[in-house]
Structures are given as structure tokens and as C-alpha cells.
């Protein structure tokens, strides 16, 4: 607990929160632009389309933001060359654990704000009815899970490489792979495809009427396996990252 508190103390005035909320602001501005002046059919399926759009938007933006977050949490140790000293005070494993938990708390808070932002926007635009609480909650949990898996991967890379270019380029490459995967498939076993696999709403575009039909996804066995893979990645990246970090020379 003390180590975790220290992690939050370390990021004080490092504008980590500000960076994450700046991303949310970009998303909100995009939402204001994209959902502006909805048509009648758009109001009817508004809550569904919101979940769909958020999955797509997060699939593009969030992998890079996870690499930024992980880099900000790790680079303070690289800059100060503090690993050796820190490991004389506490185990390397607990330091790694504290950084992972700190990042997870930030991610949970970030997506809570994101959902609050967009639900408020939905009400403001006058979407019909109310958001389906069950699906919105499930979507929130899966979103946190898929992005925690990415964050843990990036944290491991950021802790291992003093040169932060390596993890950030990996994050960018992953973002790109995730985006392009969206055109090929509905799910992916790659860690960067988590946002895509965990999307609860899909859409069908009718070229003649130019209307999108949104519907709750029925997961096939392969798609369910892709969702389970998110949790396997979380375990693998956390355990793998922790083992590699504790066995390296500080």
C-alpha cells in the first residue's frame, strides 16, 4: 500500500492525469462533431451506436495512450536511475506490482469519465430511452480489461527499455494493426485487438438506404475465445513482465 501511495506521489505534477483527460477531451470533441444533428433513425438506435463508436474510437486511440501512460510511469525511474536504490528498500516485484496497480486505477477512472461523458452527450442529443445498464456495465468491464492487458504489455516494455522510443513505437504499431484488423475481422487474438473483440455492438451498413443498423453481438465460440484471450494476456503480461523485471540487473 505504501509503495502504491508512493507511485501516486511520484506522478504528482507530472500531468499524467491531464494527458489521459486530454485524450478524453479529443474523443468528446470528436463525439460532438460526429453525433451532431442526429436523424430520427439515429436517435432511435443512439445508445447502441454510441457503444459501437466508442469501441472503434478506443481501438484506434487507446493503444497509443496506454503506451504513453506506461512510459510516463516508468521513465521517472530511468531518468533518475533509481532502480538500484529502490530495490534496496523494497522488492523489485512489489515495485512492479505498485506501478501496475497505479496504472490500472488510472485506466478505470479514465474509462469511468469517458462513459460519463458520452452518456451525458447521449441524453443531451435526446437519444430514445435509456442506456441498457447491463450492456454498458459489461462494456465498461471488458474495455478496462482489454486496455489493462495492453497497458501491462507496454509497462513491461517501458520498464525494460530505458529508451522509451521502443515501447512507444510498439504501441503505435499495435494501434495500426488493431485499426486495420477492423476491416478484416470482428475479433482478434492479438493483444491490440482486445477493443475489437470486446465490442458488444456491431453494425450493418445498407448502401441503398444509407442507414446503419446496430445490434447486440451474438458471440460465436471463436469470438468468445478471443474475449477469454484478453484475460489470458493480462495474466501473461503481468506474470511475464514481473519475472523479467525482478530478474534483470537493476
Amino acid at each position: 500500500m505504501k509503495t502504491l501511495k508512493l507511485e501516486f506521489y511520484k506522478i504528482k505534477r507530472r500531468k499524467v492525469w491531464l494527458t489521459m483527460f486530454a485524450m478524453l477531451l479529443v474523443q468528446l470533441l470528436w463525439g460532438l462533431w460526429a453525433f451532431n444533428n442526429p436523424k430520427e433513425w439515429e436517435l432511435e438506435s443512439g445508445w447502441l451506436s454510441l457503444l459501437y463508436s466508442l469501441s472503434m474510437l478506443d481501438g484506434i486511440m487507446v493503444p497509443t495512450m496506454m503506451s504513453v501512460l506506461a512510459s510516463r510511469l516508468a521513465d521517472i525511474e530511468h531518468k533518475g536511475n533509481t532502480y538500484k536504490q529502490l530495490e534496496t528498500l523494497r522488492s523489485a516485484g512489489s515495485l512492479y506490482h505498485a506501478k501496475a496497480v497505479c496504472g490500472c486505477i488510472i485506466i478505470a477512472a479514465m474509462f469511468a469519465v469517458q462513459f460519463a461523458f458520452f452518456i451525458t452527450l447521449g441524453y443531451h442529443l435526446g437519444y430514445a430511452g435509456n442506456p441498457d445498464v447491463k450492456y454498458y456495465l459489461l462494456s465498461y468491464v471488458l474495455k478496462i480489461a482489454s486496455n489493462i492487458s495492453l497497458f501491462l504489455l507496454q509497462l513491461a516494455l517501458s520498464m525494460l527499455f530505458a529508451n522509451q522510443m521502443v515501447p512507444l513505437v510498439a504501441g503505435l504499431g499495435g494501434s495500426m494493426a488493431a485499426l486495420l484488423l477492423m476491416f478484416v475481422t470482428n475479433y482478434s487474438f492479438l493483444p491490440w485487438g482486445g477493443n475489437l473483440s470486446a465490442a458488444l455492438v456491431m453494425s450493418d451498413w445498407d448502401e441503398t438506404t444509407r442507414i446503419s443498423t446496430y445490434y447486440y453481438r451474438t458471440f460465436t465460440s471463436a469470438e468468445t475465445a478471443a474475449v477469454i484471450a484478453i484475460f489470458i494476456w493480462i495474466t501473461a503480461f503481468y506474470v511475464g513482465g514481473r519475472i523479467i523485471f525482478t530478474h534483470r540487473e537493476a
Binding site: R72, D75, M165, A177, L180, V184
Partner: protein, 244 residues
Amino acid sequence: MNLSLLKTIKSERIKLKRSPVWLAFFVLPIISAFFGTFNYVANQGVLKKEWYSLWTQHSLFLCYLFMPALIGTYCSYLWRLEHMRNNWNSFLTAPVSRFSLYCGKLSQAVVMVLIGNAWIFLLYCLCGKITGLPGLPPKESISWFACGILGGIVICCVQLAISMVIRSFAIPIGIGLAGGIGGLVMTNKGWGLYYPYSLYCMGMRANNPNLALDTKVFVISSIIYIVTFSVVSVIGLRKHETAF
């Protein structure tokens, strides 16, 4: 050419020696070309404009979303060394003008944009031939290439100014990504020529190879941004006598 300028270009090259930073410019276009070609082959029933359709598949997301962030990564890397320890002091006390110091950095970013664009076009030609497209890429692609480089230099100038001020390596990359997404919105609104992050993808005709680009406005807008952000950076260097 000014001797001090040559010296700064040489010293920047030494700083980048054996750095793997070019690898990102090599790998990301390959990912884009791979998926773009796959998508083109899978949807040939809809994508009927041969070389033009293949170009949209190759360039759309790379130009809008990832090149601004990638250029941001490179610019962050260029300033990274100066932000470490007391290197600002030795950087600013070098016996060359601040303008030359800035040009040294800019030159490296411009070279990487040139190489990156050449690689994107080479992949485009290769994938076109592999998928069996007839003839050569359209002659307009020369204009896409040239305008793309000019738009890329604009992003270099913006990102160099941001990375010079912000000590963090990661934050300017996030700004680059957000700028690219903003570019998508601005282009859609029809204001792409007046927004620095849109100029690259408009120059490359990433979403529409048949776009009738107002070249005069494009060039003027690019030059204005290049000069403005360069002046801001040089003033920034002049105002800060020691470390940021």
C-alpha cells in the same frame, strides 16, 4: 552553405548514429501496406479503380493517424538527448547560431520524412505489381509524393516545437496522434488546408486520389506553418539561455 549549419547537421547525424529510430518508419508502412493490399484484394468487387483504389487502402490510415504520431516520435527522439541531464547547457553553448541548431534538428526530421515517403511509395509499387495491376502507378503519384513531403515537413516543424518545450518523450506523441485525428475532422469539414496536421494527408491525397487540390493554397499554407513554427522554435531557443 553556412559552415555552422553544416556542422550542426553533422553533429545531429552523429547523435543519431546506430540509433534504431529509423526502424519505426520502416515497419509501420509495411503493416499498412500488408493490410491495405489484403483489403484491396478481398474487395476488388467494390474497389475498381486499380492503382487509385490500392493507394487509398495503403495510405488512408497511415497518413491520417500514424504518420503524425510517427513524425512526433522522431522529433521527440531528436530532442531527447538535449532534455537529458545538463545537455541543454552544452547544446546552447555550442559556437553556432540558434538558427543553425534548429536547422540541424529539422534537417534530420526532413530526411526521415523523405525516406519514409519514398518507402511508402516503393511498397505501393511493389504491392501493385504483386496483385497484378497493369502498367505503372499513375503519373499523379509524383505530385502525391512531392506534396506529401511538404505536408510532412509542416508536421516536423510543429512537433519539433512541441518536443522542444515538453520534456516528456511520450506526451508529444500523444499530441501527434490527437492532431492526426483532429486532421480527419478538419478535412471532413473542408478546413484541411488550414490545419497543419491535415496538410500531409491532403498532400498525399490519402482519402481521395482524384482530389483536385488547390496547390497554390496548399503550398502557401504549408510555408506559413513551416515559417511560423520554425520562428517559434528559434525564439524558444534564444529565450532560454540555459536548461528548460
